[in-house]
Symmetry: C2
Subunit: 663 residues, 2 copies
Amino acid sequence: MRSNFRLIAIGAIVVSLVGGILIGRFSGGLGGGGALAEIAADRGLTVEQATGALKAFTAPGEWDPYILVSSGGHSGQLHLVGVPSMRLLKTIPVFTPESWSGYGQGADWSEGILAEGSTDKQAAELAWGDTHHPALSETEGAYDGRFVYINDRANGRLGMVDLRDFKVKQILDLPNMQTSHGGVFATPNTEYVHISSMTPMPQTDDGYAPLEDYAEDYRGISTWVAIDPETGRADLDDSFQIELPPYTQDLADAGKLASDGWAFINSYNSEMAVGGNMEGGQPIEVGASQRDFDYMHIINWKKAAEVAAQAGKTEMRNGVRVISLDTAIEEGLLYFAPEPRSPHGVDVDPTGNYITVGGKLDPHVTIYDIELIEKAIAEENFDGTDEYGVPILKFDAVVAGSVEVGLGPLHTQYDGRGHGYVSLFLDSAIAEFSLGPKAGIPEAEAFQLVDKVQVNYNVGHLATTEGDTVAADGQYLVALNKWSVDRFPVIGTLKPQNFQLIDLTDETMSVLADMPIGFGEPHYVQIIKAERLVNAIDTYEPGTDPLTFARSSVATAAGEERVEREGDTLHVYMTTVRSHFTPDIIRARAGDHVVIHLTNIETLADATHGFAIPGYNIQASLDPGEVVTVEFHATKTGSFAFYCTEFCSALHLEMQGWLLIEP
Amino acid sequence: MRSNFRLIAIGAIVVSLVGGILIGRFSGGLGGGGALAEIAADRGLTVEQATGALKAFTAPGEWDPYILVSSGGHSGQLHLVGVPSMRLLKTIPVFTPESWSGYGQGADWSEGILAEGSTDKQAAELAWGDTHHPALSETEGAYDGRFVYINDRANGRLGMVDLRDFKVKQILDLPNMQTSHGGVFATPNTEYVHISSMTPMPQTDDGYAPLEDYAEDYRGISTWVAIDPETGRADLDDSFQIELPPYTQDLADAGKLASDGWAFINSYNSEMAVGGNMEGGQPIEVGASQRDFDYMHIINWKKAAEVAAQAGKTEMRNGVRVISLDTAIEEGLLYFAPEPRSPHGVDVDPTGNYITVGGKLDPHVTIYDIELIEKAIAEENFDGTDEYGVPILKFDAVVAGSVEVGLGPLHTQYDGRGHGYVSLFLDSAIAEFSLGPKAGIPEAEAFQLVDKVQVNYNVGHLATTEGDTVAADGQYLVALNKWSVDRFPVIGTLKPQNFQLIDLTDETMSVLADMPIGFGEPHYVQIIKAERLVNAIDTYEPGTDPLTFARSSVATAAGEERVEREGDTLHVYMTTVRSHFTPDIIRARAGDHVVIHLTNIETLADATHGFAIPGYNIQASLDPGEVVTVEFHATKTGSFAFYCTEFCSALHLEMQGWLLIEP
């Protein structure tokens, strides 16, 4: 097989020498540009559109230079998209069982992850999640291509995907918090992954408290999940939580460089509205929009980690150390800065000096300066405290500037050249604005609106290439538009969303291409240079347990296949290779407990095999070298034709066997 | 909102008048072609690649002229892809629960479909499927854009998706058959959807028979599922099955025009090998490849329908009428034609005259002629019978021609200009060949190899635009390559597949673009002109039950919201509208049975709302006008912040409420 591919590769080189002359040589001539113009005209493309075609295209067999890592919203998954081609490269299942990859359909490793990810904090076993904010692991504030973390907004959980094999390795069900929206980020060296609650939760034994006791019993939670630097796994023992007032904590970001050691969390609903629109109250959307200011939470996380390590400063609550709100205030871990009402995004620029907040119900972005914040804290330049005693920094003392950008500013990303890009939900536009001198912009040009481009429609998040790291490179911007309305053919009452690719390398921004998203409701994405994914492996070592990357204790080599019966339990040690299973007949009796240890003994990349049993709801997938165990009770008699679900060879259909369950 | 979109649309027109000058006017000049050539050169694109970029591009906001309807393999779903842009437009869940669309995550309509789709034929409740062969409904042999049917290879089931709202409406668990591979098609007026078994199944009471009794007790099944012309639903009472010998029945196709009333099913393993590679036997792949010929099954389905309607000609078996093998032979419903060994695809050309079979282990395609088949049947020009008594037509009497095309020919599609295109799995290529005079090709040019193009890699199915209907138009071909190997960045040990778009409008075929498929393992696709999807609706009528399209009995209008308690059951009649639920507080007690009837009272397209309850594993989705009911037992006390999972407005985050489950 391998030699076939080599032949094809040689063929391709010949083609590129003979027929693949670069257009540049004929620029403007009939052999190059003229022919292209003709094709564009034939297809009815404008110059602008044809430019988009050429700029967004990644040629057959070529690799995209960037990979966009996207949350999947209530699909519960992660999605990888090539940039600039905007092709969906892969869906990685995290919180929702997915049968193509055999995730949660009988394979031991995935069943285990899902089961551990649903503790008795939950009322039911969970089979979905609401992924919102992917956080790629970082080293010195830049993506290191090792892991990606993703939260489940619905149920307060965190998943970890290993970027060696791009499979989820852990789901952590976080105590003391329920929903979690945008409060996820990795610290600059991935010491911690932060996840905060969105709606506060009663900190009571049974998770219940009357709404009348909201201010007293409900609390927000900022969780600092400690990460094992080797495995990327979360360790709850080393993690800690900080109690927050029962506002609605929202987006969050880590400081970096100038602001390293700090973290920032937006909040709204400092009004503590709880709704009750059929009980004489106002809807929450009205009740939560009364005050002119809400609070940006400013957390000294390095200091908090020290406090959490001290005896007597925390209490254990459901298996995790918690710093109470009082202790957080007392120890100087938590400060507030006023934000114009109902803020949404909070985003630290690549230099770490500036923190931009989008005002949602205010047409400005407000840009805070970490030096001013530190100074105000040092000088106790406070405007009193909130009702829980958290010191409020004076607004004018900490703001470096504000820019009127348009209606509904939400999130900001950066280009590494001193400019920010903010999504305008109500305007359906992206506004580009300048930062200040600490980001290299002369004073006279600082904090000004620079450019604006229309997007379609209702943009939520946006992402620039590596735009929330120290390495932002300002090549592309992707707008995550929540509504597509009329952009795609009518294919049902549930519409796709619309990602739009925007070029940042010209003087003005321009939309190059649309990408329909009809498989999830992504909320946030990060875009990483593909070359940083140096840990990615092509195949497993033979006999690998995908959970640990170590050799599996039930790995089976060719010739070692066997069936062992222990009472009512049948252990089958099976291998898969093109194009058969060994053994290809399993003889069981009704009532047996059948345990099948499968080893894919292929060594060639892409030689994945599947293992499905009709009627028994089992579908496992085995990449080359992978070992997976499936088990089930033989509750029903019959002759079941198990088979390989991956089209693996010309004789793939013949890759089947018989599971006989005798009466 | 609507007026906003109108403004944007007007803006777009202005842009196209002012800035959107067609390249054609500057063909070859600097303002058009030259600029394009420069961009292509900047990006390192060859002329061939830049041509692909321009030909495959669908400009932002423009609609693709074709929609590719793809199976999703063991993802269990259907996928819609725009052609030529090769953008994934939507995933439609069918056999596997999917939480973005709220399918099988608590909503009554979808829970009901999944539950009905898993009868006690199965050993377990099924939560996945292996979709293989979509069949778009047809009128007079052309797609009519009304329904699409899709089989579950693993468990012998059929799903139906309504192309009004693009949601699944029915899963039918077919009696007497287990696995089902490629035997799915709609008859030319969708009187029936055909689905045949792949591996035969014991026709015994308990579904079990020893492999020693394989020839006697196991049978293949050809199922003719009757379709209600109004609703598209399958009706098992009007359906019938035909018993087949226990060979492995594989791909199938309906006759059309010249061959209307006939159906064709390939088979292999006429050797009846059952494996046993650890019991002294050969692997099935070896045992099933011994004979030089297998059998194309030729079924007179119109006559079979008449026979099935006659008293005494069928027996009821698990709720469906079955024509026994003996009756099928006796009544002249079933004939065999020899096929070179281990055939795979069988595909009827647009005129209905020719049936092409790919030889898998033979480098030829064999082209049968329906006129010759009918003549041989009429003249009883038989080469004896198989061991079950099925008459075998003389090979030379029914074959119009054969073409040596290359290694591993599988499937054939057509362009409506008298040419066929066959996928070559082992060669990783597509071969174009000519048909004969009845398809408009002069005798001298008939049955010849015309062109060949390399694809990457291991192509399985392929599809041309409307290529398996009477309306094949020969614009594009999509190659479904099973392996991608090195075509995409290394993003894990499980590789995407690779769809390749091929232009059929030039003299020679050329690959325009690659599309990674990292979300399923599609087997077959059909490509329909988008303009045929005339039934597609943008929004539901207010208060619609999505299962029936009728007004739901629990639809709730604004102002009619209420909570009604009946003993331990709490009925909540709730509405959703930007940006609140009414009521936004639900007060329940531990142990209650909570039933929430949700009506999305939005009327604007795209104003979908979600409804998720933390911890309770519930996520429903409601398109504008849609009514959905979720119910659960309040097993756990607590204050649960239910919320809208679709980003619906600037105050979307505020669209939440409190489910209080008091101790």
